[in-house]
């Protein structure tokens, strides 16, 4: 108990002595606390205290403090005023119409004092228990129960292969592969056309000279090459060309000369 400024035996004993009243109000935790200390001085069960005597003690105490020119906090004065009213009401002949009656007010005060006293005693008993660090001791440096987070890395084979593909793609020397387009060269077209001219005797459309199975880009290439070949053969005087109008089919036949 040495750590506690609480001392329940001392306070009532001090209150009995007149000089104890010289104490500053700072010794009390408010007017109710002071009243409780004074009530304890009556040395009877709180249920049997004389409220009138208690009121007189309190008022005397406050009067003395003021006579000594000590500062008295407002809440102590408010309590004093209320108790002075209670005192006069208790002393005057009972007025049955008064509500609440002075007896009821006195009962309330008594109940409050009982409750405060009960909690004060409970606090003392609580603090007197076997407390950790004072009466009972724990292990000062327990190992502690730890939870260790273990990182589990995750990746799939797919992730791995995609990553490798990206590395390869990013770092391989960039080579522009020009796709080898199927073409019919001018030489091939000339050769072909020369042979075909000998077979076809009448006017025939240029496209008729092309192999039937050429289609797609190969056919376009063949048309272009054959056109150039036809112009070349015409220049050499070996074919005649005719066209009915712009963008009309081009006809050719072996030169009549």
């Amino acid at each position: 108990m040495e750590e506690l400024p609480l001392d329940f035996e001392l306070a009532p004993a001090a209150a009995e002595r007149e000089d104890a009243l010289q104490l500053s109000l700072e010794s009390w935790e408010g007017p109710l606390d002071l009243l409780l200390t004074l009530a304890r001085g009556q040395k009877v069960d709180l249920r049997q205290i004389s409220i009138l005597a208690l009121v007189e003690q309190y008022l005397a105490f406050i009067t003395e403090m003021r006579a000594l020119k000590l500062e008295v906090a407002a809440d102590y004065l408010v309590m004093a005023a209320w108790l002075a009213y209670l005192k006069s009401a208790l002393l005057l002949p009972k007025d049955p119409t008064e509500d609440p009656s002075p007896d009821e007010l006195a009962l309330r005060l008594q109940l409050r004092l009982q409750r405060l006293a009960a909690m004060r005693e409970a606090a003392a008993r609580l603090l007197a228990r076997d407390r950790i660090g004072r009466d009972v001791f724990l292990r000062p440096k327990p190992e502690g129960l730890r939870e260790v987070r273990v990182r589990r890395w995750d990746a799939s084979l797919y992730d791995l292969l995609v990553a490798y593909g990206q590395v390869k793609l990013r770092t391989e020397p960039v080579v522009h592969m020009v796709a080898r387009r199927p073409v019919v060269t001018l030489d091939a077209a000339l050769h072909h056309l020369e042979r075909m001219i000998g077979i076809k005797l009448d006017w025939a459309e240029l496209s008729d000279f092309l192999p039937a199975d050429y289609d797609g880009p190969l056919r376009r290439s063949a048309i272009a090459s054959s056109f150039l070949a036809a112009l070349e053969l015409a220049r050499q005087g070996r074919v005649d060309l005719k066209q009915d109008g712009a963008f009309e089919p081009l006809y050719l036949k072996a030169a009549s000369a």
């Binding site: 408010g30 007017p31 109710l32 309330r108 405060l116 008993r125 950790i132 009972v136 724990l138």
Partner: protein, 199 residues
């Protein structure tokens, strides 16, 4: 001596090594086998019984268990440098009021003490982790209410709130009831007595 069973060894080691009290559920979880909290509780009690009367005891505080030294050996273990938290008179009263009345609002604490509670008083108790806010009271103003914590039970060596010294007597005497309620009851009794006299 009969050899100690593996689970009992494991639970004893966990309680010994832990830096905070453990409950059967936490211990069962850490065991990682199929043990139920109920089984663990029985084992804890066996361990506590095995240590009874020795220099180390296993105690329950609010459903959690921890090892500590027996109180009667305090004189051998207390050292000058040990400086347990000193509580002001106001703080100790407020702590008692919270413990015996919980959950309780600041206004209710003040009604009992008849004096305003300085902010610092509640702070000290919260810093010590002996009290904690426990929501709000559903009345006008919705005041914050406070309760005591497991750390409070541990520090003051209480297995549960029922162990608070004298709480049953205080409750039976109506000293944990508010003044208004006690007043009405007292007046009711008086009326009854009066009626009885008049009859």
């Amino acid at each position: 001596m009969t050899p100690i069973d593996d689970r009992e060894r494991a639970i004893e080691a966990m309680l010994f090594a832990s830096d905070e009290p453990l409950d059967p559920r936490q211990l069962a979880g850490r065991l990682g086998d199929e043990s139920t909290p109920g089984e663990v509780r029985a084992i804890i009690q066996a361990i506590a019984a095995r240590h009874a009367g020795s220099g180390i005891e296993l105690v329950e505080r609010g459903g959690h268990w921890h090892f500590q030294t027996p109180a009667d050996l305090a004189h051998l273990l207390r050292r000058e440098r040990d400086d347990p938290r000193k509580l002001s008179r106001a703080a100790s009263e407020v702590l008692a009021i919270v413990a015996y009345h919980e959950p309780v609002s600041r206004a209710e604490i003040e009604a009992i003490r008849g004096v305003q509670t300085s902010k610092g008083t509640l702070d000290v108790l919260m810093e010590a982790e002996w009290i904690a806010p426990a929501g709000r009271r559903e009345v006008p103003g919705r005041p914050l209410i406070y309760r005591t914590t497991d750390a409070f039970l541990q520090h003051f060596g209480l297995s549960s709130r029922k162990d608070l010294p004298g709480i049953e007597d205080l409750r039976a005497a109506g000293l944990l009831d508010p003044v208004d309620l006690a007043f009405e009851e007292a007046m009711g009794e008086l009326d009854l007595v009066k009626d009885g006299e008049e009859a």
